[in-house]
């Protein structure tokens, strides 16, 4: 079938980008044939109706997020959702799953090494200055050995697909990666909206995630005879990801607590309940390291729990993820992950990194300054797409300004070639038809139990603005359901 139906009639093909759905000759890839056929049969009006129905489903569920700009909280918004699912064939996924597990195994070994023997630093595979200048390095963790040597239990790895059709790792998120609730809600919305259109049996289920997460939390509980009590620690209702916190607590059936609900006595952590104190064994915290223990980190913060680090050191509580994991998701450190994989696992990396220039390295800095126009410049410790500079879109004056920033603090910047994120057919409401838009993929990996778990698919984020490469929800991004075929 060719692109002749209403919804696809003006669909442009661009050789510069990898289109997930259409070949350059306009043919549809085999794993998209089914869906494409279904959509092609719909008129614009039909599709518009479905689209409105899907939106309503999110509105009613109250799946919203808050946008921040300059530190002010804006209005709550619905995370835009696109009905055309991204499909990953089983064979591709098998490779990605292996690659993600490999990567996260190596990252955990690396974090353990940094807070322990420091072999990789002594062998000068990773420059030590990079580690100890990181704001996320935690001296506290030197005296703490987490249960089962797992530091990063939940990791979010961002993948992109370049114009060569290969997958690359864009960055790791090892602190509190968010977005998994959208994966589950997207699947729900798809099922409700297009209930009859698809054979769901041929798509990997994502519903196991909460049970897998709970099993992961329980598997790293300190030794107790009792069934461990887990709790999710949130900064509160005003946090932009509060919906996700509440969603995960509810689906796992554990308590959603704030810092003021917890206290420490004799190096054990307790919840305040109406029937007295109740002991907690595992805390899945969604607050930053700096707020965990006001006695240790920031005395002015009341979000955390005074004394919790002492309880952690005494081995009476497990904190998920461990403090100090951020030392490994610094964008400059990220570029060394392939080396870590070779060093710790003696394997070749299955998923390559996006090539990265560290401005801290003299040679790299020189290259970056000379080729700045072809590069994307990123601050090493910002997330959410903030501070990213796509240089071929900047004026000459702006470029000079960027160079000054970099030279003033080279450690703080990395540069990457402008990767051509793949594009995917996406429904554009204003035009009433499909157009290609750039996408990436946030995957979720759970470590801790004997068998690591990777959520099949993940969150396909889409840059809704034409030509935009920034997929973050805070900057005009939306998302798609992601199907891994069986």
């Amino acid at each position: 079938m060719t692109t002749t139906s209403n919804l696809f009639q003006h669909y442009p093909l661009n050789a510069a980008f990898f289109d997930e759905v259409f070949r350059q000759d306009g043919q549809v890839y085999p794993h998209y044939e089914d869906i494409h056929r279904q959509f092609s049969r719909l008129t614009s009006a039909d599709f518009e109706r479905l689209n409105e129905y899907a939106k309503l489903s999110f509105l009613n569920q109250g799946i919203t997020y808050a946008v921040y700009s300059d530190g002010h909280k804006g209005a709550e918004q619905i995370f835009p959702f696109d009905l055309f699912p991204r499909v990953i064939p089983a064979a591709d996924w098998e490779m990605l799953e292996k690659g993600l597990i490999q990567r996260n195994l190596a990252l955990n070994l690396f974090i353990k090494d940094v807070y322990g023997e420091r072999k990789i630093l002594k062998d000068k595979i990773v420059p030590s200055a990079l580690i100890f200048s990181s704001p996320h390095y935690s001296e506290e963790m030197k005296s703490i050995r987490p249960k089962n040597d797992i530091y990063c239990h939940i990791s979010g790895t961002d993948l992109i697909r370049h114009s060569d059709g290969r997958y690359y790792v864009l960055e790791d998120n090892l602190r509190s990666p968010s977005g998994v609730s959208y994966v589950l809600s997207n699947r729900d919305a798809m099922k409700r909206t297009l209930s009859n259109a698809f054979r769901w049996s041929s798509v990997c289920s994502v519903n196991e995630y909460p049970a897998e997460l709970l099993a992961t939390l329980q598997s790293v509980a300190p030794n107790t005879e009792e069934r461990p009590t887990c709790a999710l620690l949130t900064p509160g209702t005003y946090n932009s990801a509060y919906y996700e916190h509440s969603f995960l607590a509810q689906t796992m059936g554990i308590e959603l607590v704030e810092g003021r609900d917890l206290f420490v006595e004799n190096n054990y952590v307790y919840m305040r309940t109406i029937h007295g104190p109740k002991r907690v064994d595992v805390i899945y915290r969604r607050i930053d390291d700096a707020f965990l223990d006001p006695l240790v980190f920031r005395p002015e913060s009341m979000l955390g729990v005074a004394g919790i680090m002492g309880a952690y050191r005494a081995g009476n509580i497990t904190i998920v993820n461990a403090p100090g994991t951020g030392v490994a998701d610094d964008k400059a450190v990220c570029s060394y992950v392939p080396d870590m994989i070779r060093y710790y696992l003696d394997e070749e990396p299955i998923i390559p990194n996006v090539p990265t220039y560290l401005c801290e390295r003299e040679d790299d800095l020189k290259y970056v300054l000379e080729h700045i126009q072809e590069l994307v410049i990123k601050p090493v410790d910002m997330s959410g797409g903030y501070g990213v500079m796509i240089c071929d879109r900047l004026s000459k004056a702006e470029l000079e300004e960027v160079k000054l920033y970099i030279q003033a603090d080279p450690r703080n910047y990395i540069a990457q070639p402008r990767m051509s994120l793949s594009v995917h057919s996406t429904y554009i409401e204003k035009k009433g038809e499909f157009e290609p838009r750039h996408i990436d993929l946030r995957t979720f990996t759970l470590m801790g139990k004997e068998r690591p778990y990777v959520l099949p698919g993940g969150l396909s984020r889409v840059a809704l603005k034409e030509g935009s490469l920034i997929v973050n929800s805070s900057q005009g991004g939306g998302s798609k359901d992601t199907w891994v075929t069986v």
């Binding site: 630093l121 190096n267 005074a306 002492g310 309880a311 050191r313």
Partner: protein, 294 residues
């Protein structure tokens, strides 16, 4: 061996009552090759008993956490009897200069001592901040250098009580020209760490010869290749001797704060504290005097 009786007392009064509070005290002498805590007692005004925890360098802290009870007054006093031996003063080794340097430059050594080689906001100094002859000279062994530097840092500041506060950095103290023990310690740390010589901040009690009321003191410990850690007190231009009773060490003052607290109150507060370190014999005499007065 000398026996000391140490008393530490602190009182805080709050203008408005405190609903929730958590305090961590790092005031009890630690135990090592040259000192032993024979016994100690902690008295306090809180309705609930404190518990102990270890901080990141393994030192014992006392935690007072109040969840339900409100209070507007908080006092803690520690009484500890400590036996102190004369620590080793020797700073000279049979290592050649080259051997010493190759240890200090070895990446394994640096990684193992990284905590006390990294500059911190309070202790960071650059060569431009002080005279370059304060750096180790080519022909100087670490031990001899430390004796020279200890005396030089002693001369860099005038000791003036209250001239700086707990947030004053080495650099600012140097510019001001005066300071207290922790400023001397931070300056010494700042100069040594940039030369890859591991140095740590030490908090503790100092027994003054004339029995006048003491204060918490701060000095440094420096790692001398082959010998290990040695204590230096740049404030008094002394090497650590049996008058120094150590509580804890850390990267700088922030790791050794005697009291840390977080609390919920909207009023002001007033804190006072006093310290006394007495020779055991004197202490018994002191107790007798007190009893006679009563």
């Amino acid at each position: 061996m000398t026996d000391y009786v140490i008393e530490y007392r602190t009182v805080t009064e709050y203008e408005k009552s405190v609903k929730q509070g958590a305090y961590e005290f790092l005031i009890i002498p630690c135990e090592n090759e040259s000192q032993m805590v024979k016994h100690h007692r902690l008295l306090h005004s809180m309705p609930r008993e404190p518990f102990t925890a270890r901080n990141k360098y393994g030192f014992i802290t006392y935690h007072f956490h109040s969840n339900a009870d409100t209070f507007d007054f908080f006092s803690v006093s520690l009484l500890a009897q400590v036996a102190k031996n004369q620590p080793t003063l020797n700073v000279v080794t049979d290592l050649s200069l080259e051997e010493e340097n190759s240890i200090l430059e070895d990446i394994d050594f640096q990684m193992d001592h990284q905590s006390f080689l990294q500059s911190t906001a309070l202790s960071s100094l650059k060569p431009g901040d002080f005279y370059l002859d304060l750096l180790r000279q080519k022909e100087e062994t670490v031990g001899m250098y430390l004796l020279r530097l200890n005396s030089a840092v002693h001369g860099m500041l005038r000791y003036v009580q209250g001239s700086t506060n707990t947030g004053t950095s080495a650099k600012v103290a140097l510019q001001g020209g005066s300071g207290v023990c922790q400023d001397f310690a931070h300056i010494m740390i700042g100069i040594l760490r940039q030369q890859n010589i591991p140095t740590r901040y030490v908090s503790g009690y100092l027994s003054l010869s004339d029995n006048r009321d003491s204060q918490l003191h701060a000095w440094v410990e420096v790692f001398i290749p082959k010998l290990g850690w040695r204590g230096f007190d740049p404030t008094n231009n002394l090497q650590e001797n049996d008058h120094f009773i150590k509580i804890a060490h850390g990267r700088d003052y922030l790791d050794c704060q005697p009291i840390k607290g977080v609390l919920v109150t909207d009023g002001d507060h007033k804190t006072s504290y006093e310290v006394s370190v007495r020779n055991s014999k004197d202490y018994n005499w002191f107790l007798q005097q007190q009893q006679q007065q009563q």
